[in-house]
């Protein structure tokens, strides 16, 4: 009975989403305040019913209700309780419901924090969000219902995919979805602006914190995913250009471009139609990602559903939402154009370069991801696009982008003379070039052109980002940096740190594949590994062989590492749990391979210098975004806006 309640709640949520998708939009078009007033209650009601549906599914998981097919397929009575909880989004049907729940949260947030905005605008925003929500709920109910019963009920469940039985899985999907789905908010703002035919600086000021918030979640989500792949998949890689990784990365690239474009629109009132296009693009890529991963058109280690009816349904939603928005854009964007120029050396010019390069990078990733599909559709055979292609095509726009970033940060709006700029940046530039060439040589004894260039750029970005805060700290002149400025410096500093980590970890990665018996001593990368022995270590739902290794440098014992080879009981899947010893300078990574007989095991040992900088850099980017969102001017915006609204209302009244 309870699962049917969940399904019923979801159906009610669909009805409310349909109301939210129609009447407020019509009301805004016809100036009917009573219809517009339905937007907030409909959103709130939808939130309540979606929450009930999600709660019911979680209840099914936590009480081991294997009469629900989705629970039987993705859980097991022996599964630890918090993995039962996270298993709710461990499969296709549940993750769609999760998508819906996250959208309901964002919609509620918009409804709650938009009191200062004109009703007509808010109605349109909520109406657009209602269209998105109705589409996805209909998709869930008609093709991916998580509440379908299994008769007779299974005696026990199939268990959660062992790869997903990891603490990283608790936070990675929620963060990623908050980011992914959060892109619907700037999208809705953009469509509302197109519908209104009006887009002013206040629009940009209002859209920006939402975009940054979604971007922060997306950044954290992608980073967690990469970190999880790094230590859980047991291969020691951190980015594989897998179609599913790409489909979360493309919205991120587009959203990053959007953030920068919004800055121009807010400060100077230009780039308007471009900003709107990026907002549509970022969410379209999120939906495209959903389509690619859910429809099975592309092979991926992540794709769990492969069903052509689902694919067609999502494609229809994609066509309706993105196609509709782009059609609207084609018809209305010209009304958004604004006057206002800028010179070659100006903040605007650099941000324009930023946008172009980000869009090129997104295009390259999109092309590489879709290429196998296109070739197959044209009947030209089956191909796959490899990691080296992606690496080169991604670096080509990214290296100049990072180089320009260091200059762009220090330019003024509208126009700036080149000379003071050069004067200001000569020291960071000099330091970067010298350190970029010398440091890798001094520390690792060898370097290459690409490594020297990339390290130089990494240091250059860090130095340039640190310049303003450091000068402020030393000279103590002028006002303090605002949170937004500090956030920008911190995020850009994070970009530099990330570049250093990515470059050094790739260029100086040491990898040894060897075999060893208990008692053996292995020398690798200046460290000594003593294989003490092997024991059995059992968990609630797996059995494992656990190796014990002493990690030594000279005479010092640094750590005892215990990599495991697990076999999960229900699915009989073997899993490699690598042991990692981490400090800021390097990770040491030991993974047990296969037993070779006669007590010997194959081993993979890796020493990865500066890999921690990848996560640190990404964390700094997210933290920078967080600082920017909490900037004073966004807190002030509500009061200001309320005042301008009141004034606008009066003008309308007078006219």
């Amino acid at each position: 009975m309870i699962p049917e309640l969940g399904q019923f709640a979801l159906a009610l949520a669909l009805c409310l989403a349909l109301i939210q998708a129609t009447l407020p939009l019509l009301g805004a078009a016809r100036g009917r305040a009573d219809w517009m007033a339905l937007a907030r209650p409909a959103a709130a009601g939808q939130f309540v019913f979606v929450a009930i549906a999600f709660g019911v599914l979680e209840y099914g998981f936590l009480t081991d209700d294997f009469s629900i097919e989705f629970v039987a397929l993705h859980s097991n009575s022996a599964l630890p309780a918090f993995y039962k909880f996270t298993a709710a989004w461990g499969g296709h049907e549940g993750s769609m419901l999760f998508w819906i729940a996250i959208l309901a949260i964002w919609t509620m947030a918009v409804a709650a924090f938009s009191r200062s905005q004109p009703d007509e605008f808010v109605s349109r925003v909520l109406g657009v969000l209602g269209i998105v929500s109705a589409g996805i709920i209909a998709f869930a109910l008609l093709t991916s219902n998580p509440f379908v019963r299994l008769t007779p009920a299974a005696f026990d469940g199939n268990d959660l995919n062992p790869l997903l039985q990891d603490p990283g899985m608790i936070f990675h999907p929620p963060m990623l979805y908050l980011g992914y789905v959060g892109m619907s908010v700037p999208f809705a703002f953009a469509v509302a602006a197109l519908l209104t035919g009006r887009l002013d600086k206040n629009w940009a000021k209002w859209t920006r914190p939402w975009t940054v918030a979604a971007w922060v979640f997306l950044t954290i989500g992608i980073t967690l995913g990469s970190w999880w792949a790094y230590y859980e998949l047991g291969w020691g890689g951190w980015w594989f250009w897998d179609p599913v990784e790409n489909s979360s990365f493309m919205p991120w690239l587009m959203a990053t471009a959007l953030l920068h474009s919004l800055a121009v629109t807010e400060r100077r009132g230009i780039f308007k139609s471009w900003t709107v296009l990026l907002a549509i693009g970022a969410f379209s890529l999120s939906l495209l990602g959903t389509f690619l991963t859910r429809s099975g058109v592309i092979i991926s280690v992540h794709a769990f559903a492969s069903d052509p009816t689902r694919g067609l349904f999502i494609l229809a939603i994609l066509g309706l939402i993105c196609g509709g928005a782009l059609l609207l854009y084609a018809m209305r964007a010209r009304y958004l154009e604004a006057e206002g120029g800028f010179k070659l050396v100006s903040r605007e010019a650099f941000l324009m370069a930023n946008n172009i390069l980000f869009v090129i990078a997104t295009g390259a990733v999109l092309w590489g991801t879709l290429n196998p599909l296109i070739i197959d559709a044209l009947g030209l055979g089956k191909i796959s696009v490899g990691v080296p292609w992606f690496n080169i095509m991604f670096l080509l726009p990214m290296l100049p982008l990072a180089t320009l970033l260091g200059v762009g940060m220090h330019t003024a709006w509208k126009q700036m003379a080149a000379e003071p700029l050069l004067h200001r940046l000569r020291w960071p530039a000099a330091i970067a070039v010298v350190a970029g060439i010398a440091l890798p040589l001094a520390i690792f004894g060898t370097t290459s052109v690409l490594t020297a260039v990339a390290v130089t750029i990494g240091i250059w970005v860090c130095a340039s980002a640190a310049l303003d805060p450091v000068r402020k700290l030393i000279s103590r002149t002028g006002g303090p940096l605002t949170r937004a400025q500090l956030g920008m410096c911190l995020a850009h500093f994070g970009v530099g740190v990330f570049i250093l980590g990515a470059t050094v970890a790739s260029a100086y990665n040491l990898e040894f594949d060897t075999s060893a018996r208990p008692g053996d001593r292995i020398q690798a990368g200046g460290y000594e590994f003593v294989f003490r022995g092997l024991r059995t270590a059992n968990g609630a739902n797996f059995v494992a062989d656990e190796g014990e290794f002493e990690l030594r440098k000279g005479d010092d014992l640094i750590a005892v590492l215990t990599p495991q080879k697990r076999v999960y009981r229900v699915q009989q899947t073997p899993m490699t749990e690598a042991a990692i010893n981490t400090n800021l300078a390097r990770d040491i990574f030991v993974a047990l391979g296969e037993p070779l007989g006669d007590n010997a095991w194959s081993l993979r040992i890796q020493v990865k210098p500066l890999i921690g900088f990848l996560w640190l850099g990404s964390a700094l980017m997210a933290l920078g975004g967080l600082l920017a969102v909490t900037d004073r001017r966004y807190r002030l915006i509500r009061q200001e806006q309320a005042a301008t609204n009141a004034a606008a209302q009066q003008t309308i009244g007078a006219a």
């Binding site: 693009g281 429809s295 099975g296 058109v297 052509p308 196609g323 782009l326 854009y329 599909l373």
Partner: protein, 186 residues
Amino acid sequence: MWRYVVPLIVFATMSGFFVVGLQRNPNYIPSALIGKPIPQFSLPSLTDPSATVSTETLQGQVALVNVWGTWCIECRHEHAFLVELARAGLPIYGLNAKDDRGAALDWLAALGNPYVSSGFDPEGVAIIDWGVTAAPETFLVGRDGTILHKHISPMTPQVWQRDFLPLIKEQCGASGCTFLAAVGGQ
């Protein structure tokens, strides 16, 4: 102005490719076993441990070989359809993999037994030679003892109509098979 239409055109082109792409199956990799003889195997029968199911059992007839187990929830979805095909007279042989005999017998008692007989393969050794990656998998075996088709994931009426029937009609040829009319081929 035309430049505002460009994004829409790009999107429409992409969608066109998606529509075509959806009709194709990216996971379809022709099995290396198609056109090859059935692998050598000999397993005790699930229902009668003294009898065997082996390569010889399958010779000289058009039959399905279905890999299943009680642990495989997807197998439940196809079971009713398999029972239906078996009632129509189509010989279906089972390979019961990585399973418990008691549980497997209970399953057949509860849901019906579509199999002429099932080989019992608790260690999952025999299915390795069949190239089985995930249950359920269904093979079509021809009169001459070669594998004609392999289907991964549950058997459905659509899959049956689209992939299996044409091959079976071809196999049965003029001489005909007794079950052909009953399973949907005129």
